[in-house]
């Protein structure tokens, strides 16, 4: 056979050692990576209890795991971006007339996250002989239609039960991803070697400005990024239409609200574009629009940062939507119809 290439063949033991060593290096590298991922668990998907501080968790998997822990408890669901985390779910449940509201608020959550989650919940409830009574959907006019994070990075993959991806691929990804930075950050945070490491920084959606409320936002190099383009708008409007029709088909009460925005985060020239988004959504279903009120933007105490409003604001929104007494001005929140 003349299938070997080199003209002067090296001796067999030397080649054998070379092949074995090459394969051993590759296998060792893979094994070390798998071990690091399981032990450190940077996305908090394996539930390994060794490192309890994670700076790059997969919140999409996290909300799913929380739900799976006691699925029968929930008969309503809150879909939102990270802004939705400030809602008082007990109050929401009381106003919706349900037992418990599952929180599916995820960083930069968009319809690409919410619709697969709803489809999963409807399937799951039906399989368990229950039903979903209500969906509380909080949208963000400033992010709606932008390229989604969903399944885009290692911290944003939907669980296979929602995405339809094979479980093998999902878990293989988290086992074999080489993520030195995340391992190091988690270990540093664990050791407390970094100042403030014990309190992970909140995940900020792109475009939001850091919470330095004492000074007006300066234009720095990082912040002069391109205005985000709503490259996925038509797709997300289609997903929303499907979500609305699914709720109707399954007799699920649907409430949609647009988050209030801070004028220091969303500039005047962006307002018409955001208003256009609200109009387009309102053509599909009634929506509560909380707009960009000046009084709210001026109250630093009502904001966690320039992007995320506080629980007090979320409570005012809930009270306004359900007609409960509230301290908010009368013009806070308008119901917009198709």
């Amino acid at each position: 056979m003349s299938s070997s290439t080199t003209s002067s063949k090296p001796d067999r033991p030397q080649v054998c050692r070379y092949v074995i060593a090459a394969i051993a290096v590759a296998v060792a590298w893979l094994t070390a990576t798998i071990a690091a991922n399981i032990l450190i668990d940077p996305q908090d998907v394996f539930g390994t209890p060794l490192v309890r501080v994670h700076l790059n968790t997969n919140a999409r998997y996290g909300v799913f795991r929380d739900y799976e822990a006691a699925p029968e408890r929930y008969d309503a669901v809150l879909f939102a971006s990270s802004r939705g985390n400030t809602f008082d779910r007990a109050l929401l449940a009381e106003q919706l007339g349900v037992r418990t509201v599952a929180n599916f608020s995820v960083p930069f959550g968009l319809l690409t996250d919410h619709l697969p989650a709803l489809e999963f919940l409807l399937r799951d409830k039906a399989a368990r002989g229950g039903r979903l009574a209500a969906v509380f959907l909080v949208l963000d006019a400033d992010f709606f239609g932008q390229a989604p994070w969903t399944n885009d990075n290692i911290d944003s993959f939907l669980p296979p039960q929602m995405s339809g991806e094979s479980r093998f691929r999902f878990w293989w990804r988290y086992l074999t991803a080489f993520q030195l930075t995340h391992w190091r950050n988690d270990l540093r945070a664990l050791a407390g070697s970094r100042p403030g490491a014990q309190e992970p920084a909140p995940v900020r959606p792109p475009g939001s400005i850091a919470p330095t409320t004492t000074q007006p936002a300066e234009t720095s190099l990082e912040e002069t990024s391109a205005p985000e383009i709503r490259s996925d708008l038509a797709h997300q409007l289609g997903l929303l239409a499907r979500l609305v029709s699914l709720c109707r088909a399954h007799d699920v009460r649907l409430i949609i609200a647009f988050s209030p925005l801070n004028r220091q985060n969303v500039r005047d020239e962006q307002a018409p574009d955001n208003a256009r988004i609200v109009d387009q959504v309102a053509r599909l279903a009634p929506v509560w629009d909380f707009d960009r009120p000046a009084w709210l933007s001026e109250r630093a105490d009502l904001w966690l940062d320039f992007s995320h409003y506080s629980t007090a604001v979320a409570t005012m929104m809930t009270q306004r939507i359900f007609g409960a007494p509230t301290s908010a001005p009368a013009d806070f929140g308008q119901l917009r119809g198709p």
């Binding site: 056979m1 299938s3 070997s4 290439t5 080199t6 003209s7 063949k9 090296p10 067999r12 030397q14 080649v15 054998c16 050692r17 070379y18 092949v19 060593a21 090459a22 394969i23 290096v25 590759a26 296998v27 590298w29 893979l30 990576t33 290692i154 691929r169 293989w172 990804r173 074999t176 991803a177 080489f178 993520q179 030195l180 190099l221 990082e222 002069t224 990024s225 391109a226 205005p227």
Partner: protein
């Protein structure tokens, strides 16, 4: 499944190789069938229902080829023509249907959903049918199925011929485990992996913002446009030649020697030479099945020019249903015509050192211009990029639109002046991108290529392009083991990115 993925390297590949050689102990035919099955699993991993297409295609082409081999000449010729037309019809349906309809409807064509590998397997099967018609070769199903579906070349080539791979598949001695080939195959695979993951994929984020800006009609400085054109040329070369190296390496794991597809094309000093060294298996297919049947170079200079341009336009169109590919093909056709005219005028004189350098500059520059056409999203974006290269797409760039943050660190720490960066590179290119591009081109031009390092010569049309690898030449030594270990470990750190090969889209 991607060659540059951990599931391929650590699960699929070891299983496929082990199964092949284990089954071969009992039956060579069964081993060929098992590897065919492995290849179909490899294909189906992308989109299981689409695996029906290669299965049907292999089955129908096999029956057709058997008919061609077993019938008299007039019938065989008719059957061969019917087979070629049928294969092209399937390709045309998936790839060009909407493009053609859109021309009549005067609208923009939608991007087609082309089944993976269709463009390549169509050419492999056409070449096979013609070969069977010409030579009346004998073959059986297991060999034929493995020849077409063999996963190392299935998705994006090299475009193999029956006369080079068929006899190897039939050779029983090749079904024995060969450590020399395993060592060499692993080495070539790792070098290809490094080209793809460590070079091509690192250039991609620099290239995209410039071409995306062109698609939106935004200002681009001339320097940014030229740099992006050179960067994309390097990206495509390292991406595709990396893929081909990996394919060759994988073939060697099965004791099969696939033809090389690149012969250090960036070192070519003429456009004629470049096209002999770039995507060699496609060039020879187009030569044998388009250029020569059209009359080749035997019908006078005018006819030859028309044949060249037609061949290159069809070669461009093969890459996709887009006017940019047609323009790219026509542009290269014209360059080839000019190059032939220059050679005729100049005669057989050997160029001087400076003459060769001037030829290299002209070749590489025009190639990069062609790559700009190739990469552009549409004709409008292509025109915008070409205008930018002439300095006519510049304009006041607002800092609000900065898309490239690569230089931010240097600017903030005073190593670079922001006004300098913005004046020369605009908001879509950076100094770091320039350095990365220069580094990649330096490797392409100065470092011996994979097939030079390992002295692999399969399918090489000529060897006058080769440089001696000298002390860098591969041998199963500790130094080489350390080198490929570092390359593999570095590439592994990027596996999670999931970057497809550029030629998967064709």
């Amino acid at each position: 499944m991607l060659f540059n993925s951990s599931e391929f390297i650590f699960i699929f590949l070891p299983l496929a190789v082990t199964l092949h050689f284990l089954v071969a102990r009992a039956s060579v035919t069964a081993a060929a069938l098992v590897t065919t099955l492995s290849s179909l699993v490899f294909y189906a991993y992308w989109n299981p229902p689409f695996a029906l297409l290669p299965i049907l295609s292999i089955g129908l082409n096999f029956l057709l080829a058997r008919s061609i081999a077993g019938t008299s000449e007039p019938n065989a010729h008719r059957l061969m023509i019917a087979g070629v037309v049928a294969n092209l019809a399937v390709l045309g349906y998936f790839k060009y249907e909407d493009f053609i309809i859109a021309i009549f409807d005067a609208r923009a064509a939608r991007p087609p959903t082309v089944p993976l590998a269709l463009s390549f397997t169509t050419f492999v099967q056409i070449a096979f049918l013609v070969h069977v018609w010409r030579h009346r070769v004998s073959f059986d199903f297991s060999r034929y199925a493995m020849f077409v579906s063999f996963f190392p070349h299935l998705i994006a080539g090299p475009i193999v011929r029956w006369n080079e791979l068929g006899p190897q598949i039939a050779d029983r001695l090749r079904y024995r485990f060969d450590l020399n080939n395993i060592a060499l195959g692993l080495t070539i695979f790792c070098l290809g992996l490094g080209k793809k993951v460590l070079i091509a994929d690192r250039l991609a984020p620099h290239v995209a913002p410039v071409f995306d800006a062109a698609a939106r009609g935004e200002p681009i400085t001339a320097l940014a446009a030229w740099c992006a054109a050179f960067a994309y040329s390097a990206q495509l070369y390292f991406d595709f030649s990396g893929y081909c190296d990996m394919a060759v390496g994988l073939g060697l794991l099965f004791n099969l020697r696939l033809p090389i597809n690149f012969a250090a094309p960036f070192r070519a000093a003429s456009i004629i030479d470049l096209w002999r060294r770039w995507h060699i298996t496609l060039s020879r297919f187009l030569r044998d099945f388009v250029y020569v049947p059209l009359g080749g170079s035997n019908c006078g200079p005018l006819r030859r020019s028309c044949n060249l341009i037609t061949t290159m336009v069809l070669g461009g169109l093969w890459h996709g249903a887009n006017w940019t590919f047609i323009a790219w093909g026509a542009f290269n056709g014209v360059l080839l015509v000019l190059n032939h005219a220059w050679r005729s005028w100049r005669g057989p004189r050997v160029p001087t050192r400076w003459g060769r350098f001037a030829g290299w500059c002209a070749t590489f520059t025009t190639f990069a211009i062609g790559m700009t056409m190739f990469r552009a999203a549409d004709i409008g974006a292509m025109a915008h990029m070409l205008l930018a290269m002439m300095g006519r797409a510049d304009g006041p760039a607002s800092l609000d639109h900065i898309r490239v943050g690569a230089d931010l660190y240097s600017i903030r720490h005073g190593y670079l002046s922001e006004s300098f960066v913005r004046a020369w590179f605009g908001v879509n290119w950076s100094v770091i991108a320039t350095l990365s591009t220069l580094g990649a081109l330096g490797i392409a031009l100065l470092v011996p290529d994979t097939v030079e390092l390992v002295d692999y010569r399969e399918g090489e049309p000529h060897s006058d392009w080769r440089r001696a690898a000298g002390p860098l030449a591969w041998r199963p030594s500790v130094a080489w083991l350390a080198f490929i270990g570092i390359v593999f470990a570095s590439a592994f750190t990027f596996f999670w990115e999931f970057n497809e090969f550029l030629y998967y889209q064709f």
